[in-house]
């Protein structure tokens, strides 16, 4: 792909890893080694497989949600490396997937320039493995008010979801925050991400929108994103 000036523009992907919190260091070490720029770590909570385990407190595990940007031809290498070190094919070990970008600001792209040249040469020398663009998965992203994620997952699970990750977040309202002694007080939100096969996606989204949609107390905003590369999810 080239822009109007005829300069080659690298195609970037947003790569997201969701792994055990204790394994986050392993992933960042791989990033260091593969020279991945811009990665962000946030803490999430894996949801339990059953209600009973969850109530007993031995259901949900702590997860690290690691988001990074990588050039499309670098992605398979990265996914393979992480999958090898963490054994992502084992159930519950973690998942990784990539999301397509629709735009990025220029300075960030500049940073990738050196690696572009290198990767460009590689891709000429030999046929580089491409991430399959035949996408079978979607990422369902739901933003709900604090405290609803457990019930939300129960409904989602009944509709066919196999698991999800909850990230605590702060909402920033249209009107601007309430001020309390100069401190802006903001709404707490929970972001629930569920990776689902395309067939199951509609069912899950329907179920959760009905129970936790924008008109309910949970005030959920629910949308899905196309996912193009997946590692570590043994779904049939």
């Amino acid at each position: 792909m080239t822009n109007s000036d005829g300069i080659k523009i690298p195609l970037l992907k947003c790569v997201i890893f969701i792994v055990d919190w204790t394994k986050a260091q392993v992933v960042t070490d791989i990033f260091e080694q593969e020279k991945v720029r811009f990665h962000f770590i946030s803490k999430g909570r894996g949801t339990a497989r059953s209600d009973i385990l969850d109530i007993l407190g031995i259901g949900s595990t702590e997860k690290a949600v690691i988001i990074c940007l990588e050039q499309d031809i670098g992605v398979p290498v990265l996914l393979k490396e992480v999958a090898k070190k963490l054994g992502l094919h084992n159930p519950g070990a973690g998942i990784a997937f990539t999301l397509p970008l629709s735009g990025i600001n220029q300075p960030i792209l500049q940073v990738f320039k050196t690696s572009i040249e290198k990767n460009f040469n590689i891709s000429i020398e030999k046929e580089v493995e491409k991430v399959s663009t035949e996408t079978k998965f979607d990422l369902i992203v739901s933003v709900v008010n604090q405290g609803y994620s457990d019930e939300f997952m129960t409904v989602a699970r009944e509709a066919g979801a196999t698991g999800g990750t909850v990230i605590n977040a702060r909402g920033i309202a249209h009107q601007g925050p309430v001020k309390f002694f100069g401190i802006s007080v903001q709404d707490e939100k929970e972001i629930i991400t569920i990776l689902a096969t395309r067939e199951k996606k509609a069912l899950i989204m329907q179920a959760v929108s009905q129970a936790f949609g924008i008109n309910t107390k949970a005030g959920g905003i629910i949308f899905s994103l196309p996912v193009d590369g997946v590692a570590g999810l043994d779904l049939k």
Partner: protein, 515 residues
């Protein structure tokens, strides 16, 4: 096996095992002990592992979400007076509930336990609302610490010398396994809905201020009550001959701790129910989990406290007394360092702090680094205490330069480390300190023939002081690392030409979304 369960069990036994091995080796090599005492110690250690596992799981499930929720909800009300009044009552209730405090209160002569507990509770209540006020008004923690420690050392001039170690001890002891998870989480909650850039730094420091309250309160109390010197009853090693005796000793104490912990938690549960009814913060599912969490906390604390009180006090005392009276007194110093290094992991509240630190720093300050820092701090505390008892050095000679150094450091250390460091002082001095280290120090004191009131008491104060310095030094090194990293980043200046320009990817380039 279940992942979390496995993790908790592993965490519990790796915390308790090293210290048990050290004591067992010492009992074979240095001080031969009666078999019964050792048997009680082993049973105690086993109970400790079980109790610790349940407690940390319960703290994760109940105490932390609850403290965080209350902190958030308080700030959301945006009513200052209400916020302060509720924090005050929270501080008072939770302090009265703290089992560590009852152990200490029972050991202090001349002052009725109820008076002492109420005084301390008032101190914590006042300082908890003060700490909340600090977060809201964004006052720098180190300035408040400087002022209040200044006041504390000023007041010591007017308090009887015998009372000073007890006062400093109560500051450390009050912040034990029930208060710490709650107060820590509350700070995180209040700071979490602030969206300015310093909010992360202000997550810590609540425990730090709450530890000053009791010191000041007890010092002031000391002006009115005149304690009459070393009246601490000499400790008798319980006679144990058969295995049945061992179990009997535990069985007798068990209902006592069940009652204590039940009352303590009941107060908190009642407060929580009122909070839930008013705020309706938690949904059905979360409520279920929180109540199971309370149950775990309850089981964990009862088992832990019974184990440590019955199994560890006699061994600590015996070990100290025998070594103190032996010609190889000097061995107490290296032994103290060894014990100190490993015992910190057996304090339940330490795990809660380390976890919270890792979480708030998003992993940049890992639990491992915190653990090592605290271990070094504790080792230093025990080394100083042993030297102090052997040579009879007055406690103020160490406390004043120690705190002065710690306070000076606050101005050079990244702010978040000041909060963590001063919190860790209170966190390190929990039930392990009051049931193993204090008897050890008292034993040494008796063996050497020193003054119990001025020498043995004060070990908690040491444990509460040295981590302030060690963790801050860790912060200095960390700050240095960050600085060099940013310098490196500055050298590779990012090209900002076309900063507002957006490169668009066409949809067909990225993915074939056929839906």
């Amino acid at each position: 096996m279940n992942k979390i369960l496995k993790e908790k069990i592993r965490e519990a036994y790796t915390s308790v095992l090293p210290i048990s091995v050290i004591v067992l080796v010492a009992s074979v090599v240095l001080v031969p002990m009666p078999t019964g005492t050792i048997l009680m110690f082993i049973v105690g250690a086993a109970l400790l592992i079980v109790g610790m596992g349940f407690f940390t799981l319960g703290a994760d499930m109940a105490m932390m979400p609850m403290g965080e929720g209350i902190g958030i909800q308080l700030t959301k009300t945006t009513k200052l007076v209400l916020t302060l009044v509720i924090s005050f009552f929270m501080g008072v209730i939770i302090t009265i509930a703290e089992p560590d405090l009852q152990v200490l209160a029972a050991q202090v002569p001349s002052v009725p336990p109820v008076t002492l507990i109420l005084t301390i509770a008032l101190g914590v209540g006042l300082f908890l609302s003060l700490a909340i006020l600090r977060i809201l008004f964004k006052i720098r923690l180190s300035i408040l610490l400087l002022i209040f420690y200044g006041v504390v050392f000023g007041v010591t001039l007017f308090t009887p010398v015998n009372f000073i170690p007890v006062a400093f001890d109560s500051g450390g002891v009050t912040t034990g396994p029930i208060t710490v998870p709650f107060i820590l989480a509350m700070g995180v909650g209040v700071a979490s809905i602030r969206s300015d850039k310093d909010s992360q730094d202000d997550s810590f420091g609540l425990v730090a201020l709450c530890s000053i309250g009791p010191i000041l309160a007890v010092l002031i109390l000391g002006m009115f009550f005149k304690p009459t010197g070393a009246e601490v009853g000499a400790f008798a090693i319980p006679s144990v001959e058969t295995t049945r005796d061992v179990i009997e000793h535990f069985a007798i104490e068990f209902p006592e701790y069940t009652k204590d912990v039940f009352l303590a938690l009941a107060a908190i549960v009642v407060f929580f129910i009122i909070f839930q009814v008013v705020s309706r913060r938690y949904q059905k599912h979360q409520l279920g989990r929180i109540f199971i969490g309370f149950l775990y906390t309850f089981i964990g604390l009862v088992v832990f406290l019974t184990g440590v009180n019955v199994g560890f006090i006699p061994v600590g005392h015996f070990l100290g007394e025998q070594l103190g009276a032996s010609p190889y007194k000097w061995i107490l110093v290296p032994l103290g360092i060894l014990i100190g290094y490993f015992i910190v992991a057996a304090e339940p509240a330490v795990h809660v702090l380390n976890k919270q630190v890792e979480e708030i720093s998003r992993g940049t300050i890992p639990q491992k680094a915190m653990k090592r820092g605290l271990s070094i701090g504790m080792a230093a505390a025990l080394a100083i205490t042993m030297v102090r008892i052997l040579l009879g050095i007055p406690i103020m000679w160490i406390l004043i330069p120690g705190y002065a150094f710690a306070l000076i450091l606050t101005f050079f250390v990244p702010r978040i480390f000041t909060g963590i460091a001063f919190d860790s002082g209170g966190v390190c001095s929990g039930p392990m300190t009051s049931t193993f280290l204090l008897p050890l120090a008292m034993g040494v004191c008796q063996g050497v023939g020193g003054n119990l009131m001025t020498d043995a008491f004060g070990i908690v104060a040491m444990v509460a002081m040295t981590p302030l310095i060690v963790i801050q030094i860790m912060g200095l090194l960390y700050g240095h690392k960050i600085k060099t990293a940013t310098k490196l980043a500055e050298e590779q200046v990012m090209d900002t030409t076309g900063a507002g320009e957006i490169v668009e990817y066409r949809v067909e380039d990225s993915s074939d979304d056929k839906q």
